[in-house]
Subunit: 390 residues, 2 copies
């Protein structure tokens, strides 16, 4: 049995944060029903790549879901939606705050129809407060929550974290909120509103950075590949590229100095403690790099691994997905789609021993589950489509 | 009532991924008991900053937790730990795979003592596979899972995402696994093993990037502040700094061109679709930037907001935590600690309407809850401390 079997989720979300959240519910067995406008959710038009006309980005965040179409601006579409709400456990949406209310489908209305409903809203800035009505994208949140201010090299133009960390973080935090609310509901039968945002993801995940400013009054700055807490902990040049080494704690640092043939550093007052090394990280990095450039990456990594010093290559994605461990942990898996055929996508990032998640099927076609979910005949569906309801 | 009241978590984790995971459980009412070695968990020595001798980083990820000390290498410490396990719901650890087994406290042993136990392991690479025994830190995972390969500017040295995204992601994914397993347990009484890693966080969150390589055979590259999916969606220079604009979809792009006084772009074939704009993003950015540099950031942002075009400033952390919306959503809150006094830390990133989380107390002192949790008298504790058990 899947852990979340029987959990019915109405998924009104678009693009990334919301769809990631609901996909991770679906992976664990929840019945996630995408409620799409008649023309399909907007991510279906995102690309390239399109494979046989199907959006790659759409496929990536919508596996294991069902799809129904409903025009929520049409009274009949709204009525059908409310009927679904009465039989659902969770509704998730990532519209701008107020959008669902304008449709007459806000939390107040839905929770009256179904008091046990868990309603999760993911927005740019949260449902309340002076910025609540502003539109939010990951790039905006990365800029406004400080992430861009600590990413990149000093004195260069702004750089974002290469993956959309506030979108991803917002989706994961919404997932946490929904599951916590579901625990409460299993115990008491009560539903509630879960409210989070890209802004709260960006700020809430600035854990180390908050310490620097709120406790020490220091403004964290971008440090390239290095970190403001300890050193050495960054990328170093080798004879044929770069590698990472994380050896800021004393035991690892001692091993590293020996490997580099620089035991003399161990008695060098300038680098005696992790804190001292952090403060002089550039100076220390130059000394270390003078050694690391003498041999190729693979040779260093073999030696570093033998000594148990955390270290690794810097891989591009073509190499990442071929990595033996990535393969072993089934992080790349084949899926089958009626139009696309067989294709490869990401696997499940968390392994549960008794109720493992599974990829049961690829992303749905638009309205593929209209008959099943809405309980309508083909004729009824055709008629409602003609009227612009589905 | 808190949503997770009554959930008892034994927290063996150190540093970031694990402590973040268990803190988010504690915020929602779980009783999280840090099980620390007699000298205290290693993060207690992380800094600067230290405030009145207390580590800032430690305070940041350990609020709402209790602390007991147990020497898990001592037979008596192991026995006391097993006693706690019998009364616990969840154990979380982020040691290298095999460490708990060597102590005689692996999942097999613990689940025999308590078959309903949820045991969550967060490691560098997962508990199985060829890399399982390697040490993992965020910097290593960022390099090895591709994140560094898409962060930074083309042709420059490697840059990491400024916040430790695989640590944070690993912690959030573990949280997801634990809560899903807890749902299963509430329904069936069965425990299980939850197994995730920094590697799986890094790879599992490369959603857009996986599409580029696995479906289109293109290796994603670093693009500074830009994105490989659409354009314009990046930072632009202004007269006095930089701002972000996310206007890759057609409606927003049209509005932006009009605001910039460049309606002519709307009939420019080169930039007709989001895909075309993505392919010529650098060319388009130069055209846009020629306009944005003419006025200061604040003026542009006022106009962009009026038109509903997602946009924002690029803030350093001193400004982030003063942001009216960040304040309004209580993302910075005061805590009180017996040694530190009053200090500021991050707030709760997810708002629940019926069972809101709360910051009940700051991070614990080492062994503060030995009497309460272990049920021992002061004399017994003193004796066990002298023997090196606590």
């Amino acid at each position: 049995m899947s852990a979340l079997a029987g959990l019915r989720v109405l998924d009104l979300t678009r693009v990334m944060a919301g769809p990631l959240c609901t996909m991770l519910l679906a992976d664990m067995g929840a019945e996630v029903i995408k409620v799409e406008p008649p023309e399909g959710e907007e991510t279906r038009a995102f690309g390239p790549p399109f494979i046989e006309g199907v959006s790659g980005p759409f496929l990536a965040v919508n596996r294991n879901k069902k799809s129904v179409t409903l025009n929520l601006k049409h009274p009949r579409g709204q009525a059908l939606f409310l009927e679904l709400v009465r039989g659902a456990d969770v509704v998730v949406e990532n519209y701008r705050p107020g959008t669902m209310e304008k449709l007459g489908l806000g939390y107040e209305v839905l929770s009256r129809e179904n008091p046990a409903l868990i309603y999760c809203a993911i927005s740019g800035y949260g449902r309340t407060g002076p910025s609540s009505q502003r539109g939010g994208f990951d790039i905006i949140a990365q800029g406004e929550t400080g992430i861009m201010s600590v990413t990149g090299e000093p004195g260069r133009p702004p750089v974002r974290a290469g993956i959309p960390v506030t979108d991803l973080g917002g989706g994961l935090l919404a997932l946490y909120g929904i599951l916590v609310a579901y625990v409460h509901r299993l115990r008491t039968g009560e539903g509630q509103l879960v409210d989070t945002s890209l802004m709260e993801a960006g700020v809430g995940l600035s854990v180390w950075e908050s310490v620097q400013w709120l406790m020490a009054g220091q403004v964290p700055r971008p440090l390239g590949s290095a970190h403001n807490v300890g050193a050495p902990y960054q990328a170093f040049r080798t004879a044929d590229g770069y590698m990472t080494i994380g050896a800021s704690n004393q035991g690892l640092y001692v091993k590293l100095c020996k490997l580099l043939g620089r035991e003399d550093l161990l008695t060098d007052e300038r680098f005696a403690t992790p804190g001292a090394r952090g403060a002089r990280r550039t100076e220390l990095a130059e000394i270390i790099e003078a050694m690391t450039v003498t041999r190729p990456t693979a040779d260093w990594l073999a030696d570093l691994e033998k000594l148990g010093i955390p270290s690794g290559p810097i891989l591009t994605y073509d190499k990442v997905y071929e990595h033996p461990q990535v393969q072993y942990r089934e992080m790349v898996v084949e899926q089958e789609h009626p139009q696309v055929g067989r294709f490869k996508g990401l696997g499940l990032p968390v392994k549960l021993s008794r109720t493992p998640g599974a990829i049961r099927h690829a992303a749905p076609l638009v309205g593929e589950h209209n008959p099943e979910v809405l309980g309508l005949t083909a004729d009824e569906i055709a008629a409602l489509r003609a009227e612009g309801v589905l």
